[in-house]
Amino acid sequence: MNFQIPIGPQHPALKEPISLRMTVDGEVITDVDIRLGYNHRGLEKLAEEKTWLQNIYLTERICGICSHSHSSCFVQGVEKLMELTPPRRGLYIRYLVSELERVHSHLLWLGVAGHEAGFDSFFMYTWRDREVVMDLLEMISGNRVHYAMNTLGGVRRDLDEGQKARILEGVAILRKRSEYYFHIGASEPSFVARIAGVGLLSKEQAVSLCAVGPVARASGVARDVRKEDPYAVYDELDFELCTADTCDVLGRVVVRVKELLQSYRMIEQMVKGLPDGDIVVKAPRKAKPGEVVSRYEAPRGENIHYIKANGSDKPERLKVRAPTLGNYAATLVMLRKGFIADIPLIFAAIDPCICCAERTVTLVKAGSGEESVVRMSDLRRRAIARHQNAPVKRNAVWPL
């Protein structure tokens, strides 16, 4: 029995809209097609209309989970363009928040993986412990999600001794809990049976399909911007690059939990070795003409911002390559020949953040499925024509 099932754009396994069209034969997937463009927000265009400072808060809103990653990546690039050197203390606090964000993102992902596998107890426990790091972030920045810590030339808030002590306490709790999750994730039989050998991606495939982040590292590709091209403080920190060679979802779980433990190490080093001094230097209003590529290891993988300046107080072009986009090609390979039951697990294992990666819209006719490319002005004209001709609907009854 060969038929196509639509996973998305609305589906309980997906928290954001994307369409995966699975051709299945019984329970086995024979072909996969992926459709993007349900959540395009025109962020890159919007960035061209805002000043450098305003753009920090815009880039922060690219993603709701790795918000600090995008703003840090952007700020790094702009600082290079403006030839600014932020003070050491400012950098330490910025990347301390980065690592705390990685902890919250990976704990969130662990819970989601548990939920997708139907292991709701795991989900509840990890999300309960995630509150520890959320509270720490709120204490540091005043916010749980959009921290707004970054500014050009440093950070906006300082740390005091009491906060440092509380961060160390929180990290000690989290380390103990994470070791327990490592034990559960790698040994609970029904969970391991679901994730071992599922969603295989060989090392060669991972390299040729340009997989990034934990997906690549779980296939044995030692790729991490923090090690390869250490930015800011990472060359001063002592940490290990975590990889696995099982090439499956189990490997991705293991890599993420190991990264959690490495992040705790880094957080402790940064808190204990926090230098004295200012947290910010004054930034100019305009940047000299030029272009820069900024790389940053987000929780989901390598995040790239390309920024072009034309001498004014606004960027001429901002191009964002979110890590999820780099993993789509690998996802298609991983899904093929899998079971229907594996779809949510394999797709969740890339830790998709769909709205970060949306850069285009495709117009598809609902009836025929015909696709077309239309200019914005034309689309606007059509919309006006349609609404002028349409009769006013009063008490409209929507057919079910």
Partner: protein, 323 residues
């Protein structure tokens, strides 16, 4: 007078009304235990400790819009929830808690009622399959196929496990099996393996984690129930609740020595023992993750079925030793 008694028996106690109240209580118990295992509160708001939450859920669902898809087989689609509820409620009447006389078999307790109750507990699975198939939704169709595939896995171990105590007691009547083990409680220990096999199989029959595959939310949306809403969904949920009570009552009667001591003490036995079994089912649900459909079948035939056969052989040997 006899007519009034029969009507009361069917409608009030231990018929529909009692089963409704007790099964919603059991659902509350299950939800609360499951929530406490997960470090959550569970229902707290409706009634004391949230006891009335399942009833509130039921009535809320009853009031919701009831949509029947255009492409569905409308008559079959609408009638199946009622049949399902009727079947499991009938099975509830056969539990040897109330209204049985050991010496005189009646229409609620007769030789062979263990087979009838097992049969009545198998019917909801087929009803689920038909419901899924008649709603013609893609996700329902996959769910329906999964329901049947799973049935092939757990049904044989369940039957073997439940029937081996009956063989030792030398009776096909639930009341007599229970009376046999009440007289010789030590013999219950020989059936422990069968008890755990039956527990796992009942978990699969009730489609709870790790066997919630036919309605795995993150894979196939609502699975078998994707197109069901309103009253029909409420009835299906009630069906599952009552099935949980009846199945745990059956296990209690066969493996835990039944419900001795007349109406009141017997009833207390019934509540304590069914809640104990539901507690074990909740524990299993909290400790595991959902497995794949092929893993269910291979697990059932590689482990459950051979172990059930082992239990059967042990029972037969023991019976030879005793007599």
């Amino acid at each position: 007078m006899a007519v009034v008694r029969t009507v009361l028996y069917l409608v009030v106690y231990p018929g529909l009304l009692f089963l409704f109240v007790y099964s919603t209580f059991c659902e509350w118990f299950d939800r609360k235990v499951y929530a406490r295992f997960q470090n959550r509160m569970g229902p707290t708001h409706t009634g004391r400790f949230g006891v009335l939450q399942p009833i509130a859920d039921f009535f809320k669902l009853m009031a919701k819009e009831d949509v029947v898809p255009d492409a569905a087989d409308k008559r079959l689609f609408s009638v199946l929830p009622v049949i399902g509820l009727a079947v499991v409620s009938t099975a509830g009447l056969l539990l040897p808690v109330w209204n049985f006389d050991l010496a005189n078999p009646g229409w609620t307790s007769f030789s062979g009622d263990i087979i009838v109750i097992l049969y009545l507990l198998s019917l909801p699975t087929l009803i689920l399959f038909l419901a899924a198939w008649s709603s013609t939704n893609l996700f329902s169709t996959i769910g329906g196929a999964r329901v049947l595939t799973m049935l092939f896995g757990y049904e044989v171990p369940l039957f073997l496990a439940v029937l081996s105590p009956a063989i030792l007691a030398d009776s096909w009547r639930l009341a007599e099996i229970a009376a046999f083990y009440q007289a010789k409680p030590l013999l219950l220990l020989t059936n422990i393996l069968g008890f755990f096999i039956a527990l796992v199989a009942v978990q699969a029959k009730l489609e709870r984690t790790p066997f919630d595959i036919p309605h795995a939310e993150t894979e196939i949306v609502g699975g078998t129930f994707t197109e069901y809403s309103g009253k029909k969904l409420a009835l299906f949920r009630l069906t599952f609740d009552i099935e949980m009570v009846v199945a745990s009552g059956l296990l209690a009667a066969v493996f835990l020595g039944g419900f001795p001591g007349g109406a009141v003490v017997g009833f207390i036995h019934f509540v304590v023992k069914t809640l104990f079994i539901i507690f074990l089912l909740s524990l299993l649900r909290a400790l595991t993750s959902r497995i794949r459909i092929d893993q269910v079948v291979s697990f059932a035939w590689k482990y459950l079925a051979p172990l059930a056969v082992l239990q059967l052989l042990a029972t037969i040997l023991l019976k030879g030793l005793i007599t």
